[in-house]
């Protein structure tokens, strides 16, 4: 059995490669390698520099610090593969990434949502195109450095996905879109490890990236500013980020100010509302249909109910069934108790036990089992809040 390991050049995926290389060392070979390292080239570096108005060939500030699409990272991944003595290739997924991740990200953003590209990337690129490429080159399975656990239920034959043992590093939140077929070809060797354990494994094996800092930002937005990225991306297509001026209203419907485009705002945001005085106001809701930004007091941000669209059920859940669960509404959110009902239209309604702050349309909602195991039951995209 040949495994393709997705190597980003970071400590997590490098450790995965090291662990698998050791497990495979005693396997007799028939000429085909047991382990192949692959790096996905997702975004063109020169293009990024151009988009930011830098001269051709200039090094892009912010890219040196270990983001997943930087050229340095591909070099790091190659160094690790050489160190482990495994075959290694960089594969070009730029067009797939742009179509499946960047463009939807920009369009949703312009529509007033606050999208999370990493989940899209996993579904649209990492576990579809990547598995396809792995199979093309003769691998049957793929391995990644996600902190998530995966088990096959021998009784039902279904694959079950769980939060990583290290809940603080859990990345199952980004994996809710995987199908059973994709899960059946996946390995997450770090699921039972804590981050510090991964680092010590990497150090003990003298991996060249053992002490490399973790990446934080969205890989194609190195400056951390969505707005700058979107402006540059639109400019490249001859489009302009032109906000249509609209009203900022209170939850009672009173017009308080004018805004320059709903996409400038995020639910829960306090700063930059363009007026001062009185008690602090927060963005409660974005209403792109009426081009309005609704503001109110912090208490008004707490909501109990939401609907989720395009739910992928990893467990066998039939439409109409209702159950108790824990639901996570953004990466740093602690899964909270809720009652979930699966809808016949492929969506779900969620009613939290306790109101949750700043439930944001466009973010992913992931439904976990109502216990400490945190099994991923399914997940989708938050579409409306009530």
């Amino acid at each position: 059995m040949t495994t393709a390991v997705a190597m980003s050049g970071g400590v997590d995926s490098s450790t995965v490669a090291a662990l698998l290389a050791e497990n495979n060392s005693n396997t007799p070979t028939d000429g085909a390698p047991r382990l192949i390292g692959l790096t996905m080239q997702l975004w063109n570096q020169r293009r990024l520099a151009r988009m930011q108005g830098l001269p051709e060939g200039a090094s892009t500030p912010g890219l040196a610090s270990g983001r997943c699409c930087s050229l340095d990272d591909a070099y790091d991944a190659r160094r690790v593969a050489n160190f482990l003595g495994i075959p290694y290739y960089v594969v070009n997924f730029e067009s797939r990434f742009e179509e499946g991740v960047v463009r939807p990200f920009v369009e949703r953003y312009l529509a007033g949502e606050t999208p999370i590209p990493c989940s899209l990337c996993n579904t649209e690129v990492k576990f579809s195109q990547f598995i396809e490429t792995a199979m093309q080159i003769g691998a049957e399975r793929v391995a990644t450095g996600h902190y998530a656990r995966l088990h096959r239920d021998e009784r039902t034959g279904r694959y079950r996905l769980f939060s990583g043992r290290d809940h603080s590093k859990d990345q199952s939140y980004f994996l809710f879109g995987l199908t059973q077929e994709q899960l059946s070809r996946s390995l997450f060797p770090l699921g039972d490890l804590r981050k510090d354990e991964v680092r010590s494994i990497a150090r003990a094996r003298l991996l060249p990236v053992a002490d490399k800092p973790d990446s934080q930002e969205i890989c194609f937005v190195p400056s951390g500013s969505y707005r700058e990225f979107i402006e540059a991306y639109l400019a490249e297509q001859g489009r302009k980020l032109e906000g249509q001026a609209g009203e900022v209203v209170s939850t009672e419907g009173e017009v308080l100010a004018e805004h320059q485009g709903v996409y400038n705002f995020t639910v829960g945001q306090r700063k930059g509302l363009g007026f001062a005085g009185g008690s602090p106001l927060y963005v409660i809701e974005l209403d792109p249909a009426h081009n309005r930004v609704v503001v109110g007091a912090n208490e008004e941000l707490f909501r109990r109910r939401m609907t989720v669209r395009d739910v992928n059920w990893i467990c066998d859940i039939s439409p109409g069934s209702a159950f108790e669960a824990r639901v996570k509404i953004r990466n740093r959110h602690i899964p909270s108790a809720a009652r979930v009902e699966a809808l016949p239209n492929g969506g779900a309604t969620v009613e939290f036990e306790e109101p949750q702050r700043a439930i944001t349309p466009g973010q992913a909602a992931v439904i976990y089992s109502n216990d400490e195991d945190l099994e991923v039951i399914g997940g989708g995209w938050i579409s409306s809040v009530a």
Binding site: G31, A32, P33, I36, T39, Q41, N44, Q45, L71, A74, Y75, R78, P87, Y89, V90, V91, N92, S95, E132, T133, M135, Q136, I137, G138
Partner: protein
């Protein structure tokens, strides 16, 4: 694992004779060719012998050949050097240059760089055969045109360009004519007089010489500014202490290439034709890209519909066979080929195109091995492609009466 190298347009192994010729230059004959003493004179003599060898390969006068760091430097020197020399103060604006759309990035990106400085550039198109039309070049010429740069043979398709006709056009209009002959030199006859070129770039590592050494032919009387400034080396064309070992290697490689040029071309072409024809006959939905008659003897570019080229190259490499697709970008992944889109292929067609480039080391047994392994790799890639089954069903349906 037995490995077969079919990527000789990327680079070639150093010939053992070349290595032997270079060997003394590192330790015993280490002199600086500019020095007056015996040590310097030895180096100088070795360089001049190499200059004669390279000049002979392209039927040039030795004094018109300058050694450089390779094809990229020769190409850049030609474009920047001609444009800068065309006016006394080296201004860029008001000049016009013609290149083709299928040039190597060393010409294409240099053209874009001078374009940014104010030079007008015309990019002459090619037909589906991969050939530049001399009439289109002719009609693009304006009074401000200072340079035409058209490659001799294309690196991806192997297609040989009609340089003699373009050379005549250039001469009629009194415009300098440069050719990037990096892929043709050492593989087919290259004659600067017949081609009618004023400048010609070549690179030693493409014909079993060392990497890092190339040459630029500059016809006597050509007004060219150097790219670099320094000492008076290479008749002021290219300053910097000469890379004596590299230059000696380039000379020896040129001599060897010329020695068996015709017989090697015939031998390699026969292997290439067998490879290509067997593939076209036995693998469904396989087609040759570009013209098959006016082509380098060692190159073929084959499109396997519904085969992901990048996956193909990796799968073949894991089985010991080296071939290529497109051009590599900085990280090492495959970039979409500008050459294949210039001949009218869509993105999917370009992505499923593979270049096989044979060389002096290629044997008949190696071709057998490739022909044994390749069909199964193509079949496997199509089996995992979501598009192939659909298209096969469609073609079955449409072929029914």
């Amino acid at each position: 694992m037995r490995r077969v190298y079919l990527d000789n347009n990327a680079t070639t192994p150093l010939a053992p004779e070349v290595f032997e010729a270079m060997r003394p230059c590192f330790i015993e004959q280490f002199g600086n060719a500019s020095s007056i003493h015996w040590f310097g004179q030895q180096a100088k003599a070795a360089i001049e012998t190499a200059r004669e060898q390279v000049a002979k390969l392209i039927n040039a006068r030795p004094n018109d050949v300058a050694f450089t760091s390779g094809g990229t430097e020769s190409d850049n020197t030609s474009l920047f050097g001609i444009v800068e020399a065309a006016q006394p103060h080296g201004e860029y604006s008001g000049k016009h240059v013609i290149v083709s759309t299928i040039e190597h990035p060393a010409v294409l990106n240099a053209a874009q760089a001078i374009e940014k400085r104010g030079v007008k550039v015309t990019y002459a198109r090619v037909g589906p055969d991969g050939m530049v039309d001399p009439a289109e070049v002719k009609s693009a010429i304006r009074p401000e045109t200072v340079l035409i740069s058209i490659m001799h043979a294309n690196n991806e398709l192997g297609v040989i360009q009609p340089l003699e006709e373009i050379g005549r056009v250039a001469r009629e209009h009194d415009v300098y004519f440069h050719t990037d002959a990096v892929q043709s030199a050492g593989k087919i006859p290259v004659d600067v007089e017949k081609l009618g070129v004023d400048l010609l770039s070549l690179s030693a590592h493409k014909f079993h010489g060392p990497k890092g050494t190339g040459a630029l032919y500059v016809r006597k009387g050509t007004n060219l500014r150097p790219l670099l400034f320094g000492g008076h080396h290479e008749r002021d064309r290219r300053p910097g202490t000469e890379n004596v070992a590299g230059i000696v290697g380039a000379g020896k490689a040129a001599e060897l290439a010329q020695l068996n040029l015709d017989s090697e071309a015939r031998r390699i072409a026969a292997l290439r034709d067998r490879l290509e024809e067997t593939i076209l006959a036995n693998v469904p939905q396989a087609f040759t890209n570009g013209d098959r008659t006016r082509r380098l003897p060692n190159t073929c570019n084959i499109r396997f519909n519904h085969v992901e080229g990048e996956g193909f190259v990796i799968a073949m490499d894991l089985k010991g066979i080296a071939c290529s697709t497109g051009a590599a970008c900085a990280s090492g992944s495959v970039e979409p080929s500008h050459v294949l889109s210039a001949i009218g292929l869509n993105r999917d067609q370009a992505r499923s195109s593979i270049r096989f480039s044979l060389g002096r080391m290629t044997t008949s047994e190696e071709i057998d091995l490739v022909l044994e392994i390749l069909p199964a790799v193509v079949e496997h890639l199509r089996a995992v492609s979501p598009h192939y089954e659909k298209s096969r069903q469609l073609s079955v349906v449409s072929s029914q009466p």
